[in-house]
Symmetry: D2
Amino acid sequence: MRILISNDDGYFSPGIEALAQALRAYGEVTVVAPERDRSGASNSLTLDRPLMLRRAPNGFWFVNGTPSDCVHLAVTGMLDVVPDMVVSGINLGANMGDDTIYSGTVAAAMEGYLLGVPSLAISLVSKNPQSFVAAAAIAAQLVARAQANPLGRVLLNVNVPDLPLEAIKGIEVTRLGRRHKAEPLIKGTNPRGETVYWIGPAGGAADAGPGTDFHAVEQGYVSVTPLQIDLTDYEGIDALRAWLA
Amino acid sequence: MRILISNDDGYFSPGIEALAQALRAYGEVTVVAPERDRSGASNSLTLDRPLMLRRAPNGFWFVNGTPSDCVHLAVTGMLDVVPDMVVSGINLGANMGDDTIYSGTVAAAMEGYLLGVPSLAISLVSKNPQSFVAAAAIAAQLVARAQANPLGRVLLNVNVPDLPLEAIKGIEVTRLGRRHKAEPLIKGTNPRGETVYWIGPAGGAADAGPGTDFHAVEQGYVSVTPLQIDLTDYEGIDALRAWLA
Amino acid sequence: MRILISNDDGYFSPGIEALAQALRAYGEVTVVAPERDRSGASNSLTLDRPLMLRRAPNGFWFVNGTPSDCVHLAVTGMLDVVPDMVVSGINLGANMGDDTIYSGTVAAAMEGYLLGVPSLAISLVSKNPQSFVAAAAIAAQLVARAQANPLGRVLLNVNVPDLPLEAIKGIEVTRLGRRHKAEPLIKGTNPRGETVYWIGPAGGAADAGPGTDFHAVEQGYVSVTPLQIDLTDYEGIDALRAWLA
Amino acid sequence: MRILISNDDGYFSPGIEALAQALRAYGEVTVVAPERDRSGASNSLTLDRPLMLRRAPNGFWFVNGTPSDCVHLAVTGMLDVVPDMVVSGINLGANMGDDTIYSGTVAAAMEGYLLGVPSLAISLVSKNPQSFVAAAAIAAQLVARAQANPLGRVLLNVNVPDLPLEAIKGIEVTRLGRRHKAEPLIKGTNPRGETVYWIGPAGGAADAGPGTDFHAVEQGYVSVTPLQIDLTDYEGIDALRAWLA
């Protein structure tokens, strides 16, 4: 089995290192990840400049681009054979609910999925994540299962509570919850005396009831949400037709 | 009516200028757009640095950030009153099918929608767009209709064929089509003799039959697709549960 | 006379606009400037990506690169004829003493000089500059003089006190002074709770006695310093030879 | 002895690794280097955003900034004690003649010098450098000599021929030579069909006679040039006064 690993925290992140180490038991692992932290990169692709591939002493490849660039570059040109799976992470922080729209971790997996490869994004739900080994074991478990019993073309978004493996209660299949609106801008002054604005933190969980990713993780379960990428609001089509008539 | 306008081509783009001019007849227009071309930015947010607002001689505001940053900044802190509508564009090029995942134009509208504002993204389908006036008139028509008859919280993705207004056959409500996989990487050498890689062009239309955005535009109609942002694959939940059992 | 104008504050800066307007009386003016604020860019050149030229409605060209890139691009490929002079500015803030090492404004002029063109950098000495018209008049006066009486291959660094033209006492030829060491780092926390560091402000004037640029401007004079670019410490060569023997 | 090491090729470069390894025998080494390749950064400082410090598994610190940022940050705030020496490199490629104006490697050393620390930049003269061990041994030799016999506040620019240590003929104290004008722009087309421009390669050696850095390296010697940072053209002051009179 050929496994392509990427992330959005950069190739030097402890999360990607733990992931690569855990997955080597299940196949031939290639790591292609951004040269620097690209958290919040979403699905951005670099179209106005060429990319370069460099190799770190530990064998990881790094790219002067986004998470989507990394997977795109690996699958459409760098690798001789299309990988059997793309695994992205382990992200330092949650990717639940609306986070999936902004996340570079999810985007890297989505790029694999768009290119026809079963893909999985995995994130540790914590502001200061510790349990990389547990999360890597979860990823390995899912990969092993996919190896034994292929699931077809899927895109899985996995969020792991930041707990030791033995404290995790199990795996739940979930839907994405929803967050409250983001916190307001943070206005400040830079040392040159100019007004500057920081994007505020994400909102708290709004739709976080049973069945959601927020709820599963809150209860100590791993959340696995199957994703698709058709943004069409099918239920809104008739109302829109009426409105336009 | 208060209208916030943004785009991903930069505040200096002819598309945003045509849009602002056309919408001024319908309300108070504020333009907040990226200081430089951010095509392909997707929903990326700038989290590792503060943003700055500057004002051009024509009154447009520009920001050293992404399309999503611009709308986020305007709605969550810069504007005294939340706008009644966010309009993003006019993009120089199509945003149909899977393009919506990567598009900064769509992302700017999506950011408005996520912050509770009815939002609309508009794109001209052409590699070398000419009919900005026609597309701006279409945008104005939709905004006027929303003013007369509010449609609630919607996110509309509008693609306009690059034709004179009188040659456009009408408006069709569509679903997103799908593209073929992207073209392969383009490998080259930079002047320093180093190997570099350009992301290849988007694939051609794959799912482009009647009912899709691709089909409508191909037939000379304006395509309007209602979007939503829940990526959950509801139909895949049961299969995934069975697989994990 | 063909005059190439650039700066480091960006093509939209009031300083470059005032400069272009004032110099049009003396020749054919072409403006090629960075698309965004590149203050502090020094002589950096963009070697890892290609550059693009775009044109603003007012006819100014802008480039997704550094001040040095702009002049380099214009002189080595874009312009049909090598310009007779490069003028860079009007910078919003002083470029005196050690500032010349870091300044993008000076770098743009230095690039012209390195490519064989007489060049001039002009800066307004103020944190909140007002007297663009006065500074532009000074620039025009120097250009007119160079037109009437060519000075050969020179690189002039001009600093103008932020005063109305009639309050300026005259022009003094100076040497560069020296600043005290920079102020310490400013340590802070970003909204994600991470420690961040801002570069501190430049130090105050240390060597600012009669004859220096600091002194001239302080006394209400325009300072003009002839620059050269050979960094060799000729006086240190013998001591170094002895030390290595 | 406390030694601060930086470079412009990035903290992952083989050059900085060889340098750090060789200098550990002579004191306490701290490495603070850019997170990505910043060749051509010159003395640019990052003024519009805050910087972050991260630590690699090998103990090296890396910064999302320029070479000058790295040294500035280390000396003015990060390190408890001002280092006794700043060493920058080993650069993958020459920094001779006019290169010193553009070089990030030289800039990192210059920043140390400006902050009062004896500093040294070291570069391997080759398009595809091999002899990192030899160059590191040269650096170590110079540091050892400075330890035994302090040279005061100096800024040394060292260029090493890419030869095995035993093939190097000795050390020569030199002045900077000069290059011919840069090669013209390289005009091309990107995959989106847009015209793009690459900065052309540096010119060949123009002033490369005996006594210059170019000549010494050409003859198989290590070139050591003492640098200073006063750009004033003292010899041009009288002519300029006459011209302005």
